[in-house]
Symmetry: C2
Subunit: 137 residues, 2 copies
């Protein structure tokens, strides 16, 4: 697989409005806050200089994936999203290498992109999201 770029680092937070000033003190200001209904979160996008961003994820429901993570582990680093050129190809190569997709096929994520998650078990406990920017996957 081609070397991916970092798309974002997802951080689970209990309270987005309380979190923003603290990250802002590190120069990481939110450029947008949006609700992603499919993931049952409100998301604040905090870009790095030079590419990539932190996404602060506040659950809108306790039984969504981030809500359950918060209840179990508390706030903290939740996932890493890698941007690839060809998501279907990346999923095939990941499976062939023994990684386990949670999503067998790309599905729609925020901003019209295509996403698929891999199980953390084979990646040292790290939940990895693969994403592709283009409209077709």
């Amino acid at each position: 697989m081609e070397r991916p770029t970092l798309d974002h680092i997802g951080v689970a937070v209990a309270d987005l409005e309380a979190a923003l000033p603290r990250w802002g003190a590190l120069g990481l200001e939110a450029v947008r806050v949006e609700e992603v209904a499919g993931e049952r979160v409100r998301v604040a996008l905090l870009p790095f200089a030079g590419g990539g961003r932190i996404e602060l994820l506040e659950p809108t429901e306790p039984d969504g994936p981030v809500g359950r993570f918060l209840a179990r582990r508390g706030a903290g680093l939740h996932h890493v999203a890698l941007q690839v050129q060809d998501l279907r190809q990346a999923l095939r190569e990941a499976e062939a290498a023994g990684l386990e997709p949670i999503d067998r096929a790309p599905r729609r994520g925020a901003e019209g992109r295509w996403v698929a998650f891999l199980r953390p078990g084979a990646l040292d406990g790290v939940l990895v999201e693969l994403c592709q920017k283009e409209a077709e996957a």
Copy 2:
């Protein structure tokens, strides 16, 4: 504070050699493996395209910071490192904003850079490392 760049994402792993092929399947190949005696870890550097990298951290001693993390939480996302222009200034601003430095003054990290960590308590459970590339801090 100026918007920082992402320097790296630190991932605690039990076995570096076992981890490398799995990350390699995602296109993240190690360009270097080195021991950082001060942190009691062996580190593999896996650059993203376009800047930033993943650092896989294998403890060389069970009672170092990463060894203790592994014993308590298991393998997984450990910290996020942000590159700033002026580390002393960044620490002053972070403290003024209510963030708590673990290191009151910059100390030497790997590759001759200067580093300082902030307590995760005020940053949604995320351990943040601030680093500066230049020789003087």
